[in-house]
């Protein structure tokens, strides 16, 4: 069932990693063909704890630690999926996806189309992305947000949840769906229960999540905060930063509407366009590098489809076109923080 679940047993709060873990576990209990493979998913329980306890509960058959072989991880997930299984493969860091690009882009994404609909590839490929500032410095090869590459590959769905509630619902939809899904998890989202310093500024990192399984459809955005004056379309960690900016700016009388697309492919254009029609002013906030990034695609779409309703150019708040630096002072300059978002909004609302 889509949408808000019927019964909300709202007694416990989960963080992002817990919600994901619950989704996978419930699906593995429900369906024997669902299994997990990847580096460090078994014995270690996943680098970020998303498969903690699974090896003990489900055994080596269904929780498979792999060698460092992204091409084999993705390729074997594909081979299993086309012959009746429902693998959930994990790529330990999104940065490693280049090591398995052919299997993902040339094989998995094209299986359904190339073979004229005679086969399907129900693979869920989970992978953490993003900068962990201010918690840790992962630097250039462990902090990238590359989801824009995959918006560009027809045949792949791309999910980018920002909250525990969304994560569980989307992941279950992905697992039960029949299409290849790249499920992108911003690593800063995982930590909230273990990092109180994140919980206070970003309260939505921990949420009440229903115990029973529920589905959130792909292609349906969520208005995380309704507003009247300016539209912000944000993804993943940027949703939380935007919400914080919205709270601050509301004290100045600026009413920000924050839209979380939740899935980049398919993209809920209608919700975004309707908001732009209302406010006439929009900023797209995305952590990836500006050039050719997620915000670029969404901005172009808004320009095409809501041109007559724009009262100002579409603003993009994205990372600078630099590899993610190591030193925190550089990283916080390169990767958008509340400051850059605020500047963009003020510029839209009170332009000089």
């Amino acid at each position: 069932m889509f949408g808000k679940p019927i019964a909300m047993s709202e007694t416990r709060e989960l963080d992002f990693a817990e919600a994901i873990r619950e989704a996978i576990r419930q699906e593995m209990l429900r369906d024997k063909t669902v299994f997990v493979l990847g580096e460090d998913v078994g014995k270690f329980g996943g680098l970020f704890g998303c498969t903690k306890g699974f090896l003990e509960e489900f055994g080596e058959e269904r929780v498979r630690d792999t060698p460092i072989s992204e091409a084999a991880i993705i390729g074997s997930a594909l081979g299993a999926a086309v012959t009746g299984m429902h693998p959930i493969a994990e790529l330990e860091f999104m940065d490693f996806i280049g090591c398995g690009m052919d299997q993902l882009v040339n094989q998995m994404a094209k299986t359904r189309y190339m073979f004229g609909g005679s086969m399907k590839a129900p693979v869920v490929l989970r992978t953490p992305c993003g900068s962990r500032y201010p918690i840790a410095s992962g630097a250039a090869q462990h902090c990238q947000s590359l989801e824009a590459w995959f918006m560009h590959v027809p045949g792949l769905k791309v999910a980018t949840p920002s909250t525990p509630y969304d994560a569980k619902g989307l992941l279950i939809s992905a697992i039960r769906g029949e299409d290849p899904v790249l499920f992108v998890e911003h690593k800063l989202l995982y930590y909230a229960k273990r990092m109180p310093s994140l919980r206070e500024p970003y309260p939505a990192l921990i949420q009440k999540v229903p115990e029973e399984p529920y589905l959130i459809p792909f292609g349906k955005a969520d208005i995380k905060r309704p507003g009247e004056d300016v539209t912000v379309v944000a993804t993943m960690m940027m949703v939380h930063k935007s919400l914080r900016v919205a709270e601050d700016l509301s004290k100045k009388g600026i009413s920000m509407e924050v839209i979380d697309p939740r899935t980049l492919v398919p993209l809920d254009k209608l919700t975004i366009i309707n908001s732009v029609k209302k406010t006439g002013k929009v900023a797209v906030v995305s952590e990836d590098a500006k050039t050719g990034g997620v915000a670029a695609e969404i901005a172009a779409m808004i320009m095409e489809e809501a041109f007559d309703y724009l009262d100002a150019p579409v603003r993009r708040v994205s990372a600078l076109d630099v590899p993610i630096p190591y030193a925190p002072v550089l990283e916080s300059t390169a990767v958008p923080q509340e400051r850059q978002i605020t500047e963009a909004i003020l510029d839209l609302v009170e332009p000089k």
């Binding site: 063909t33 299994f35 058959e61 269904r62 498979r64 792999t66 060698p67 072989s69 992204e70 091409a71 084999a72 993705i74 390729g75 074997s76 997930a77 594909l78 081979g79 299993a80 999926a81 086309v82 012959t83 009746g84 299984m85 693998p87 052919d102 299997q103 040339n106 094989q107 094209k110 299986t111 359904r112 189309y113 190339m114 073979f115 004229g116 609909g117 005679s118 086969m119 399907k120 027809p154 045949g155 769905k157 939809s173 769906g177 029949e178 299409d179 459809p217 792909f218 292609g219 398919p266």
Partner: protein
């Protein structure tokens, strides 16, 4: 084998006349490998194949009409005209898919083996690939994983000595590619790719072991393609091979070799063999006619089959 030979040779003519848009890679000369291997398989066993996959697909039981229609890009083809020569798939006879990327099928076959193992059936998967593919990263990762998890896969390496124009001597220091299996703790064997019975015996052996849960095998079949890498390859590959070499291998053609043996062992007469040949030619005629008469896909359907569901 005759079916494959006739199909491919007919296809060569079709390509030469420019009747289809495809980039086509024919299997002429290598028939013994596909037929020897697939004869050792059941309908429910799987194969993964390559850009040079018509032979494998026909040997596995592919419908000639649907194959020809796919090559002509028609809606009645195996992939509704969307895949073409290099991307034929027929899941109901276990053809998991041909891929145009060298080596890509190797990890996928491991995944198929994984699926078999997890579903606890006694199916196997045969993965065909060439000498050139054995140098890719995908080969390394796929083989390693298959060996590690003891997956029921038979990796059939069709060593036709060339990867397009690159001879193996310029691609690797190894002389015997099946030696690579040792690097993964896998069994590596060699068969005579120009003798269908040799291939059949080797694959049967590997398949039995795989069904018993003894893991994968790398089977190197030494063979040769009589035509160029692709249809249109100048002088059918003579620009990077010698005429002498080509003639030498043609003398070892598996089809006449088998035919002679059948007649000598009195399993059938030459006349009966000729009759089979004629029947096959008729089958091909029928397939071509079917393909030519079939409808092309409609342009408005271009975006169909990208996803199973839009949500």
């Amino acid at each position: 084998m005759v079916r494959i030979r006739q199909f491919e040779e007919r296809l060569a003519g079709i390509c030469a006349r420019g009747e289809i848009p495809a980039l086509v890679h024919t299997y002429v000369g290598e028939e013994a490998v596909a037929v020897g291997a697939c004869s050792a398989l059941r309908k429910e066993d799987y194969i993964t194949s390559t850009h040079r996959g018509h032979g494998h697909c026909i040997a596995k039981g592919g419908d000639l009409r649907k194959m020809m229609a796919e090559l002509f890009g028609k809606e009645t083809g195996y992939c509704k005209g969307r895949g073409g020569s290099m991307h034929i798939a027929a899941p109901d006879i276990g053809i998991v898919g041909c891929t145009g990327i060298a080596g890509a099928g190797i990890p996928i076959a491991a995944g198929v083996g994984l699926s078999i193992k997890m579903r606890k059936t006694d199916q196997v998967c045969v993965s065909f690939f060439g000498d050139g593919s054995s140098n890719t990263g995908a080969f390394h990762e796929g083989m390693n994983l298959a060996a590690l998890w003891e997956l029921p896969v038979v990796y059939v390496l069709e060593n036709n000595l060339y990867a397009i124009s690159t001879p193996i001597s310029k691609a690797t220091r190894l002389r015997k590619l099946s030696d690579r299996a040792a690097a993964y703790g896998m069994r590596g064997v060699v068969a005579d790719g120009m003798d269908v019975l040799s291939v059949y015996e080797a694959v049967t052996d590997a398949v039995v072991r795989a069904r018993r849960g003894e893991g994968p095998t790398l089977l190197e079949c030494k063979t040769y393609r009589f035509r160029g890498h692709f249809e249109g390859d100048p002088k059918m590959g003579e620009t990077y091979r010698t005429k002498q070499e080509m003639e030498e291998w043609e003398r070892r053609d598996a089809i006449p070799k088998l035919a002679d043996r059948i007649v000598k062992d009195r399993k059938a007469t030459q006349a009966e063999l000729d009759a089979i040949n004629q029947e096959v030619i008729k089958e091909i005629d029928d397939a071509v006619a079917f393909a030519k008469a079939s409808a092309s896909p409609r342009p408005e359907d271009v975006a169909k089959y990208v996803f199973v569901s839009e949500k």
